[in-house]
């Protein structure tokens, strides 16, 4: 063997003085040269450097390979991807978007490790341009990584869906896909072609991808449902009934806004019972459906999940109960079917759902609700009892008022509030109108009841006592005494005692005689010197009554 040493030493140029030697970053010098040289042997050196333990050398080798981009080197890089150090992986991920051609070579290579890693990288880099190659792989025979290829097809479709659906909101800065619509169009075209070859590859993810990315107006999707072979259309219809991807479920919903919806979408509405679909439907069903939606949904004669015996209604979150009732009423289900759901809702639904169902049931005059209301009054659930309390008058339950008054003292705040709301019509204004016509015993009971119904009763009574209309002031003061609320409105009585109207002052004097505080006694003494003889007379009478009641003058500062 001719010693390489002799040849090399002889052929190299003159020695360079030490001062001019590049002492800084010598490793970078090496790898820069390896990245730029025309010599193909550099690739072997770089590949060998990938296997070294030194992460810095590895990273430099990766950087040089990515700069040089030799297919053989990239294939080796992909093969080792999972064994690379963190910084080296980051470099690959950073430049990964430009590896399209090389990744295609990796996919087509027979090496399982290279192919698996390439599939992983395609998903990471969201390399949508690889879809035709992936489909080609699926159409090949004996592809060992078939599952991984199918997963990659689905993942690409899903990722693009997220880009289209959420745009900038769903992505971190820098990964926003600017030309998402163009990519979608290309993907749909590829997927549609692939769908027509379904009997060859039998990959449902290809059809699912088309359904995820398509919309009811899309030409490719229309072609699928119109021109594809029966087997393909059946698979697509089956996916509409089973796929839990939001894109597919959205397609089912969106189809209803078309003049001619996909028949498979109708089948999905009728057959699906999975909670994902039910929730998606109720979350996205519009509050005011469009004309086509209304027309189409009226055609829906059955919906499996709306049959109470299937127990699918239990899966509906409480927050969607109201929407469920709205959707139910917009369908073309028969009256008994609807009644069943409404009665279920009254029994088991959330407060909101019960109210919505009750509103509908009132119109339908369903007697079963009365039983439910009476049962619910004994419920230990505060919300349920509160709902039943609110329904007492609506459903004309016997002794409704008595039951309502009882519930004003309920230990459950929700129930007390419901009873107050129901009795809100009976307030101080109504009581003032009625007070004069009631027996004294009832007047006192009304006073107590008013305070339970409306915590603001005293405040409102004071407002009446200070009203601009004299008649109202006098009536309120007398009612306060009759309902035994006069002790709580003493300050307003003091103001009335200084009123310019002598009839008001006289009424105030009469009521103040029953208050019995030192302040009220002082005010009565003051009124004994009033200009009006009727007021003086009333004040003296009140003072006499006060003294007679106490048997002695009022104690200073305290109530008597």
């Amino acid at each position: 063997m001719v010693p390489i040493r002799r040849r090399l030493v002889r052929t190299i140029g003159p020695r360079v003085p030490p001062a001019s030697r590049p002492m800084s970053m010598p490793r970078k010098t090496t790898f820069d040269l390896l990245a730029e040289t025309q010599n193909g042997a550099a690739v072997d050196v770089l590949v060998a450097a990938l296997d070294l333990a030194d992460p810095a050398i590895q990273a430099l080798a990766v950087e040089a390979l990515l700069k040089r981009r030799p297919t053989r080197g990239i294939v080796e890089l992909v093969r080792r991807f999972h064994f690379l150090s963190g910084p080296s992986r980051e470099l690959v991920e950073k430049d990964g978007a430009f590896l399209g051609r090389d990744l295609r070579e990796c996919l087509l290579s027979g090496d399982a490790a290279v192919r698996n890693n390439a599939l992983d990288l395609i998903c990471r880099f969201e390399d949508y341009s690889q879809l035709p190659t992936l489909v080609r792989l699926l159409e090949g025979e004996n592809v060992r990584e078939r599952g991984a290829v199918e997963h990659a097809v689905f993942k690409l479709a899903n990722r693009l869906y997220e880009h289209l659906k959420f745009g900038k909101e769903g992505d971190e800065a820098g990964v926003f896909l600017r030309d998402a619509q163009r990519v979608r169009h290309q993907m749909l075209s590829t997927l549609e072609s692939a769908c027509h070859r379904y009997p060859v590859h039998r990959c449902r993810q290809v059809i699912e991808g088309l359904l995820i990315l398509g919309d009811p107006d899309n030409m490719h999707l229309k072609n699928l449902f119109r021109d594809a072979a029966e087997e393909v259309r059946s698979a697509a219809a089956e996916l509409l009934c089973s796929s839990r991807h939001p894109g597919v479920m959205g397609l089912v919903l969106d189809s209803m806004s078309q003049n001619y919806p996909f028949p498979a979408a109708f089948a999905a509405f009728e057959r699906r019972t999975d909670p994902e679909f039910i929730c998606h439907l109720l979350r996205n069903w519009p509050r005011k459906p469009g004309p086509f939606q209304q027309k189409n949904i009226k055609e829906l004669r059955m919906a499996a999940w709306l049959e109470p015996e299937r127990n699918c209604l239990d899966l509906v979150p409480a927050a969607l109960h109201r929407m469920l009732i709205a959707f139910l009423m917009s369908t073309g289900l028969t009256q008994p079917q609807k009644l069943e759901v409404l009665e279920w809702m009254v029994h088991w639904g959330s407060a909101d759902g019960r109210l919505a169902a009750t509103d509908v049931l009132v119109d339908l005059e369903d007697d079963k609700v009365q039983e439910v209301v009476l049962e619910s009054l004994e419920s230990e659930e505060p919300d349920v009892q509160a709902w039943a309390t609110g329904q007492l008058r609506t459903w004309a339950i016997p002794n409704a008022m008595e039951l309502l008054v009882e519930r004003l003292d309920s230990p459950m705040p929700e129930v007390r509030q419901a009873a107050r709301s129901e009795l809100a019509g009976f307030d101080i204004h109504r009581a003032l109108e009625l007070c004069e016509h009631l027996e004294p015993r009832l007047q006192v009971a009304v006073g107590k009841l008013l305070r339970k119904i409306d915590p603001q009763t005293i405040h409102k009574l004071k407002e009446q006592m200070l009203s601009a209309i004299r008649r109202k002031r006098i009536r309120a003061a007398r009612a306060a005494l009759a309902m035994r609320l006069h002790l709580d409105v003493a300050d307003s009585l003091m103001i009335m005692a200084r009123d310019s109207d002598n009839l008001v002052r006289r009424t105030a004097a009469e009521v103040l005689g029953n208050v019995g505080t030192r302040e009220s006694a002082a005010m009565l003494l003051e009124l004994t010197h009033d200009d009006s003889p009727r007021v003086r007379e009333a004040a003296n009478a009140a003072l006499d009554a006060m003294l007679a009641l106490r048997g002695a003058p009022a104690a200073p500062g305290g109530s008597t």
Binding site: I4, V9, T11, V16, P26, T29, V45, A48
Partner: protein, 106 residues
């Protein structure tokens, strides 16, 4: 005298021409070697890039002979090869250490 001078001139001219020819051929061979797609040519390129001295190149060539012929350039990326050689040849350990410093930094 004239004849002797004539012969001397002819011999001198022949020697000069021969030297020039050999030198030209060597240069041509070197250029071809540099542009060859071989590990050896790459080795040369790397040596030039690092401005290695004749002694350093010689030593590096010796070290590279511990690898397979087509992997002679590994010495530029794997410092372990130089370190192992230095360990096995204590007389050249110091030179190996200096070479490591030149090719891989501190």
């Amino acid at each position: 005298m004239t004849t002797w001078l004539f012969h001397l001139t002819v011999v001198a001219a022949t020697v000069v021409l021969l030297w020039l020819g050999v030198n030209w051929l060597d240069r041509f061979r070197l250029i071809r070697l540099r542009h060859a797609q071989t590990p050896q040519a790459l080795f040369l390129e790397l040596c030039r890039a690092h401005h290695l001295s004749r002694v350093e190149r010689e030593l590096l060539t010796v070290i590279s002979e511990t690898c397979a012929r087509d992997k002679c350039c590994l010495v530029f990326v794997d410092r372990q090869l130089i370190a192992q050689f230095g360990g096995a040849h204590p007389a050249q350990a110091e030179q190996c250490h200096e070479l490591c410093r030149r090719l891989f930094g501190s």
